[in-house]
Symmetry: C2
Subunit: 346 residues, 2 copies
C-alpha cells in the first residue's frame, strides 16, 4: 500500500523508511475493522460488505491541493495541507450524499525529507480520523529534477459509499427552493495562484505580515487556514432526507458549482447579504480584482450551499445552528436558468 | 468527477474544456452499467452490488509513473504513460487476487496543453478498456510555477475487488514451491532516474539513437515500452486457485518485492537462467552499474513472479504458454529466509 519506490539515482531509500516510521502510528489510528491490510503491502484491502444497504454505490473523487502548497513551501508548514486535501475530497462526495470509507494519497517531491513527508501524512491521517475515514494507502514518489527543492505535490483519492436511492443529484430541485449557505474557513483550496500573485508578487507582502482586514492573524495563517469538512453538520440532514442539492464551492465559485446541480428550467438568485471575510476583501482591494473574477476564483465566504424545500428551510437552519453552525440565507432557486447575484450584473 | 479547477492567474479554463472535449469519447468507452455518473459531476459513482460474491473486499492502490515521464517529455510522446500507469496499478492489486473495477487519475502541469492532456488521458482510457476497468474520474491541475514547461506529473488510484476467501497474501507458500517468471516488456516504470543518468547524462545518448543491444529499436522506443498488464494471463489461474503468491517486480527489484510475500521461515533461490533483455545490459555496461544495484533498481526482464505448488508447476507453465505467454523457471522457495541468486552472492 504505502509504496516507497526505489527509482535509481538521487533516491534515498533510508529516508523513505524513516518517513514511514514517523507516520505509521498516525496512519494505523485511522484503521477500523473494515481494513484488512497493513502498511507495506502492494495494495490496501477494505471490506465491501454493506449489510445495512440495499444497493450500495461507491462514490470516488480525486483532487490535489493546488498552489496552496506554495504557501506551505514558503512558510515551511506542511502540517495542514493534508487536512485541506482530505476535507476537500470528503466534501466532493458528500454533495452526492456519500460518506467516506477510505483515502489514498499521492505525494511527490524532488528530494524527500522524512520529516516533511511525515508532517503531510500525519495531517492526512488526522483529517481522515476526524471524518471516520481510513488512510488505506498511498505513494510517496521521489522524482529528482521534477520538483524544486522544498516543493511537494500532494493529491489523493477518496472512496465513499451511498445508498443508491439516496444519491443526491439535484434533480428534485424546483423553483422556490431555498439556498442556505455555510461559512467557509477561508480560501479553502482555490484561487491560490491569483491570491499569491496579488499578495506576494504585486503587493510584496510577506507571510508573517498582519493587516487590519485580517483581524490580528498573520497573512500566512490566514492563507493556510484549513479547508473545512462539512460532513459533521450535514450527515444528520442527509439521514433525514432533507437535502435536495449540495454545491461545494471550489474552483469556478458559486456560479460554476451551483450550476452543476441545478436541473433544466432552474436558475438561482444569490442574495449577497453575508459578510465577505477580510482575506477576500484584502485580495480584491490590493489586486483591484473585479467582482466577477473574485467570484469565479474564490468561495467568498460561502464554502457549501444547501438547497432545501422552502418549507424545510427554517427547520434545517435551526438544526444547523443547534450544532454550532452559522448558516445564512444564500438565495433562492428561480425558474429559467443561470445564476444571478442580488448586487447586480457582473 | 473530471475536475478542471480554475486556480487563478495563469490558468486557462478554455484550454481545460478543450482537453475534456478531446478525451470524453475515449473515457466514456470505458464505462459499463456499473458506472452511474457521467463526466463533469463532483464525484464518480460506481455500483458496489457484488451478487456473485460472499464477502467482497475492495483492493486499492495508488501509484505514479515516476521519472519515465521525463522520457515522455524529452520525446514529446505522452500517448503511452497513461497505459504504463494503469497497467502498473492493475498488477499491484492483481498480486492480491483482485480484478480492477475503476481508476481515478491525477495529472498536474505548469501550463496545460489540451492536446497533451488528452493524449495522456486517451492512453489511460485505452489501458482501462483493455483491463475491463472504468476510468471513473480524475483531476487535471494546472499549477503555474510548480512544474517546468512540458513536464506533466501523472498518478492514479485503482480500485478492484476480490472475494475475501480468495485473497492472495503468500501465507500458503512453503519451501519447495516453484517460482515461475513472466517476462517484462522493458523497464516498466522503475529505475528511470538511474537509466536516464547513465544513458543521457553520462553517455550522452539521444532518444533517437540505436545500439546493437537494442536490436533495431531506438533508445526512446525501448525506454517508452509500455509497462505490461498481467491480468489476462493470470486471471484464469486465479479462478482455478492455482496461485499461492504473486510478486509484481517494481522498485526494489526481485529481492525487494518477492520478500514482501514470503511467509516467515521461507526464502527463495532465484535461478538466473533467463536472458536479460538488451536495454538492461546496455545500462549496466555504459554505467558500469554493479549487479546488486541493477537488481534493486530494475526488473531485469522478470516483470511478475508466480509462486505455485511444485506439483502444479508444469500445468501452470503449460496453461500460460497456451495463452501465448513465455513463462520461465525463475527459482524455488527455500527454507530459511532471504532471497539468494544462483549466480553468486550479492
Amino acid at each position: 500500500m504505502r509504496g516507497m519506490d526505489y527509482r535509481g539515482s538521487g533516491v534515498d531509500i533510508g529516508e523513505g523508511q524513516r518517513a514511514v516510521d514517523l507516520m505509521k502510528d498516525a496512519v494505523r489510528r485511522t484503521f477500523n475493522p473494515r481494513v484488512l491490510s497493513d502498511l507495506g503491502q502492494f495494495g490496501g484491502l477494505f471490506s465491501a460488505v454493506f449489510t445495512d444497504m440495499e444497493e450500495p454505490v461507491l462514490a470516488a473523487s480525486t483532487d490535489g491541493v493546488g498552489t496552496k502548497l506554495k504557501v506551505a513551501s514558503m512558510t515551511g508548514r506542511y502540517g495542514t495541507v493534508g487536512q485541506d486535501l482530505v476535507n476537500h475530497c470528503v466534501n466532493d462526495i458528500l454533495v452526492q450524499g456519500a460518506v467516506p470509507l477510505f483515502f489514498m494519497d499521492y505525494i511527490a517531491c524532488g528530494k524527500l525529507s522524512a520529516v516533511t513527508v511525515a508532517e503531510i501524512v500525519t495531517g492526512l491521517a488526522a483529517a481522515c480520523e476526524q471524518n471516520g475515514c481510513s488512510l488505506l494507502g498511498g505513494e510517496t514518489a521521489e522524482m529528482p529534477g521534477f520538483y524544486s527543492p522544498g516543493d511537494y505535490d500532494v493529491a489523493g483519492t477518496i472512496v465513499g459509499v451511498v445508498e443508491r436511492s439516496r444519491i443526491i443529484d439535484g434533480s428534485a430541485i424546483v423553483p422556490g427552493d431555498a439556498i442556505i449557505g455555510l461559512p467557509s474557513s477561508g480560501l479553502h483550496t482555490n484561487g491560490y495562484s491569483l491570491a499569491r500573485n496579488v499578495l506576494f508578487q504585486t503587493s510584496g507582502m510577506s507571510p508573517d505580515e498582519v493587516h487590519p482586514l485580517l483581524e490580528g492573524e498573520t497573512l500566512g495563517d490566514a492563507l493556510l487556514r484549513i479547508h473545512r469538512s462539512y460532513l459533521a453538520p450535514l450527515k444528520p440532514l442527509l439521514a433525514e432526507g432533507l437535502i435536495k442539492g449540495l454545491a461545494h464551492i471550489t474552483g469556478g465559485g458559486i456560479r460554476g458549482n451551483l450550476s452543476r446541480i441545478l436541473p433544466p428550467g432552474c436558475g438561482a438568485l444569490i442574495d449577497c447579504g453575508w459578510e465577505v471575510p477580510g482575506i477576500f476583501r484584502l485580495i480584491q482591494e490590493l489586486g483591484n480584482v473585479d467582482r466577477r473574477e473574485m467570484r469565479e476564483a474564490f468561495n467568498m465566504g460561502a464554502g457549501m450551499l444547501i438547497v432545501v424545500d422552502s418549507g424545510d428551510s427554517e427547520n434545517v437552519g435551526r438544526q444547523l445552528a443547534s450544532g454550532g453552525e452559522k448558516p445564512f440565507r444564500a438565495g433562492i432557486v428561480t425558474s429559467g436558468h443561470g445564476v444571478l447575484f442580488t448586487d447586480g450584473p457582473d
